[in-house]
């Protein structure tokens, strides 16, 4: 199939535009999360979205709108548990994540199951995204991008050396809260692209791919963004042409980029 034919379909154009915006946001946040060894927060928050989607379906409200505040609160919960309960980040993520899954199962059970709807959120279905969802995703992505760019230096400094950042006058608690809140919003958006089960891949894979070959911090951000957006575009194209599940194809495309970067680094090592 020619690219032009492929772009002829409105649902494909919607998926490409929305997916690219979400991938861009995921890739930038992913670099910060991976470098802080907080990669699995995406996975944990995605599990929370399972519970929040169930609440949305139970209340007959759009799951994305119900999920955003719940997941943002959960992201702050993970941060507070890490700070106040003297837990390592992975333990805090584990607690919040399992509560999300348990809550979702309980709600689904009480409601007698939502089978098809819940399944589509678990594995994603960006090709069925509505115009309203496109609008929401683009607006929220732009908000996240704006906040990342406004606090870029603070995030860079805090990620590299939190203590020095504090002495520089940076309110690192605020910066950490901003990071997890933005991650919360992004995870909900990413759920529509690749599904709850694969959300963390959109955060982690482009970042770790960029880390294989990057030559500076800015360069890491740029490479991560290009890889994430390319993976979404290529993934949607391949899944459409070969009739494969879109979310899984996007993730596998990301993984192929990672393998290529890994091989490149090992074949052409730095001086």
């Amino acid at each position: 199939m020619e690219i032009v034919d492929f772009l002829h379909y409105a649902f494909i154009r919607r998926a490409l535009i929305t997916g690219s915006f979400i991938a861009l946001v995921c890739s930038l946040l992913g670099v910060l999360l991976v470098l802080r060894r907080f990669s699995l927060i995406g996975d944990g928050l995605a599990h929370v979205t399972f519970g929040s989607v169930a609440i949305g379906l139970l209340l007959k409200q759009h799951p994305v709108y119900v999920s955003i505040p719940i997941v943002m609160l959960s992201s702050l919960g993970i941060l507070k548990l890490t700070e106040k309960a003297k837990l390592y980040g992975d333990a805090a993520i584990g607690i919040v994540s399992s509560i999300g899954i348990a809550g979702g199962i309980l709600i689904a059970s009480i409601a007698g199951g939502f089978n098809v709807d819940l399944f589509s959120y678990l594995f994603g279905n960006i090709l069925s995204i509505s115009k309203a969802e496109v609008f929401t995703a683009i607006v929220l992505s732009l908000v996240v991008l704006l906040i990342i760019s406004l606090f870029y230096k603070e995030h860079f400094s805090t990620t590299f050396d939190e203590e020095f950042a504090k002495v520089s006058g940076i309110n690192t608690k605020k910066i950490n809260s901003i990071l997890v809140l933005l991650t919360g919003i992004t995870v909900v958006l990413a759920m529509r692209v690749v599904g709850i089960m694969l959300t963390s891949a959109l955060l982690i894979l482009p970042a770790v791919t960029a880390l294989q070959i990057a030559k500076s911090f800015k360069n890491t951000m740029a490479i991560s963004s290009v890889i994430a957006m390319s993976s979404v575009i290529i993934g949607i194209y391949i899944s459409f042409v070969m009739n494969l599940p879109t979310g899984a194809t996007i993730v596998m495309t990301n993984f192929i980029f990672f393998i290529a970067a890994f091989l490149y680094r090992n074949i052409f090592p730095k001086d």
């Binding site: 060894r37 230096k153 860079f156 400094s157 050396d161 030559k215």
Partner: protein
Amino acid sequence: MSINILSIEGLNFRYNSLEVLSNISFSINAGDYIGLVGPNGSGKTTLIRIILGLMKPTKGHISLFGVESWKFKEWYKVGYLPQRVLFNPYFPATVKEIVSLGLLSKRGFSKGLDIPEETMIDEAMGLMDVLDIKNKLIGDLSGGQQQRVLVARAIVNKPELLILDEPTTALDPETREKFFHTLQELNQNKKVTIILVTHDIGSIGKYASKLLYLDKRIVFYGSFEDFCSSVDMGSYFGEFAQHLICHRHD
């Protein structure tokens, strides 16, 4: 009249039931070069972290540049090198990017570097001899090179007070001497006030103007001349140890 840079009064710090710092009072004037020494666990790093607002004292008052530390906002006046920077060895930042972080407190955020700032970064890198590796990733450098990059980050802002917590631990003897010499130049030519935490009591005697010996309390604070002529210090350290410190200073 000398300008007061740091003033500490009646500072105490307890961790659970353990007394870490007891009744610490001293002040530092502009242009002082303080060697902060003491045995392991004597509270040196804790004192530095309290001065920098990273820890809260149990009791006592601290003022920086005449302002109570909890109200102090002008952090661009302070340069800091922590004892250990536990950064990710695969962190993808270049030497220049790391050094530029030292400018954050002064310049605000979100804007790109202007020409004077580029010059300041180059000067700091030149001073610490890392200019020729400015585009290398921090993780690709040796321990000594990384330490020099972090010192460049601490001085890039041209701070009025420079606090360095054991900065020479990863440096070879030649680089260490050069480093001490650079600090002396900063102190004498640029009038930077320095607090240097070190175990290298012999070397610090050659460069610092004052000695602050800490062992959970202040054992001695004053000039090296006073330290060397003090009978009390002779009894506290033993005459041999006192001679060893003072011999290097003479």
